[in-house]
């Protein structure tokens, strides 16, 4: 069985600081993998290495068996990799609908077309509406993003990622900055993502994220120190040491 995502010996240093140290990770298709670890453990850098925004010094990244280590970020999107950011990066002046349409446009050849109007493309618009409906935001479709709440924006970001029909979805702290109610909404959304989509999620707050994942990797100082099922990881002495400082 091929893996959805396989990392081998990923190394990255910024100056003298080794941010990831020979990270190995294998995620099978359909899996929900949670990567936890305290601030500064190198989780976001690991994500940037997976998406290609940062180039590794050593090691390899494979997506469904194909080596993508040297591929630029944009090509990885076309191969079925989507991500959300820890700090939401969307298009604040545009409507929610336009935000999702841009996401859909990114994977079509229409994005190079300098004469056809985007706002009159009914097919794309309908798909964008469906993606917004799936996250419960149909009623806000025509509202500029700047006039929505943080929780709503997080859902827009997830709608944009899912609208691209990714095979692998990377979520960078999807619960960061959300209220308890908003967390519940997002959690429900993530639960309902079909199993054809493999999920890899970063969180540093264990409680909200634990329910979602069957397998958990704990990262600390650039290394994956514990890797196992939920029960194994929670019981592991290293986890306690990192989180409780024993």
């Amino acid at each position: 069985m091929t893996t959805a995502l396989e990392l081998k010996g990923l190394d990255k240093s910024f100056g003298g600081l080794r941010v990831t140290k020979g990270v190995d990770l294998a995620v099978v298709p359909g899996e929900r993998r949670l990567i936890i670890g305290p601030n500064g453990a190198g989780k976001t850098t690991l994500f940037n290495l997976i998406t290609g925004e940062t180039k590794p010094d050593r090691g390899s990244v494979a997506l469904f068996g194909a080596d993508i280590t040297g591929l630029p970020s944009r090509r990885r999107a076309h191969l079925g990799m989507a991500r959300t950011y820890q700090i939401i990066t969307l298009f604040p002046k545009d409507t929610l609908l336009h935000n999702v349409m841009l996401s859909l446009l990114g994977l079509t050849a229409l994005r190079w077309n300098p004469w056809t109007r985007l706002d009159r493309n009914e097919a794309l618009r309908e798909r964008a509406r469906a993606a917004l409906a799936a996250v419960g935001l149909s009623h806000l479709a025509e509202r500029p993003l700047a006039q929505t709440s943080y929780g709503e924006r997080r859902r827009v970001e997830i709608a944009m990622a899912l609208s691209q029909n990714p095979r692998l979805l990377l979520l960078d702290e999807p619960f960061a900055g959300l209220s308890i109610d908003e967390r519940r909404d997002v959690q429900k959304l993530l639960f309902n993502i079909p199993r054809e989509v493999t999920l890899v999620m970063i969180e540093h707050d264990m409680d909200t994220a634990l329910d979602l994942a069957a397998r958990i990797s704990v990262m600390h100082f650039g290394e994956i120190v514990v890797d196992g099922t939920r029960a194994e990881v929670v019981a592991h002495p290293k986890t306690k040491e990192i989180y409780l400082g024993e």
Partner: protein, 321 residues
Amino acid sequence: MKRLAFAAALILFATAPFWVGGSFYVNILSQILIGAIFALSLDVLVGYAGLISLGHAGLFGVAAYGVAIALNAGLGHLAAVAIGLGLALAVTALFAVLALRTTGIGFMMITLALGQILWGLAYRWVDLTNGDNGLGASSRPTPFGFSLAAPVAFYYATLIAVCLALVAIAVFTRSAFGASLKGTRDQPRRMTALGYHVWMIRFFAFLFSGFWSAIAGILFFYYNQFISPHALALSASAEVLLMVIAGGSATLYGPVAGAALVVVMKSVASAYIARWNFALGAIFVAIVLFMPEGLVPGTQRLLRRGFNAQRSRASAPAEGG
């Protein structure tokens, strides 16, 4: 409403030679229209790509010099214009490859340096450019048998060119590619993650901008029947940038209004005020203070506010009673 305003403006411009009073003023209108095309071309980069170029006068001037050199080598107008356009596009591509390594201040500095190199070439490569004395042309072209020698005929030619530029840039910026371009302006990192080739999108926008700068440069050359290094100077690049910012970047009519403001101050007000540069500066300061988004969007905002105030005054007694 917008279409009505456009139609009114078009009628005004189309009938202008009959009421504006003499070829002096017709020529000023031609200058405004040439400036408008130039400012529109720069706005593609400044407004829609978020890339501030300080070297666009170089592209404008290269097209003009291309035509001038070809004419002086004995070629016909059609061949000369083709050479001017081709040369300008090639130089634009080179500019883009070098400048698009960065954005922001770095992009400004590289375009500034490249513009200065072209200005230096025009000034110093005397064998080719005749240096500070510039290059002239003995005649204007006669497309389809219409002579453009008279000011009014030339004015109508530039008016057609402006209309073509407005339509082309409107279609371009509202297109799917235009949406991609605005996306790279607002969130380049996110656009990459969504599968867009940010560099290539900016490159094509740069080429499109360079094309219309070249058209403006060629019109400018035929308007004066002369080109000298002054047209490529940094002050010319800054002037067109001011047109865009004063009129309103990322709008269609802002650059046109900005061009009108600068040309009128330069050509008309300078006849009455010796320190016209000072007056223009004061106007820019006022625009930045009171309408930081530019003349066209600023006026729209004021009109809307006035309209809303009137409407709420009209409905207030009914609610109060």
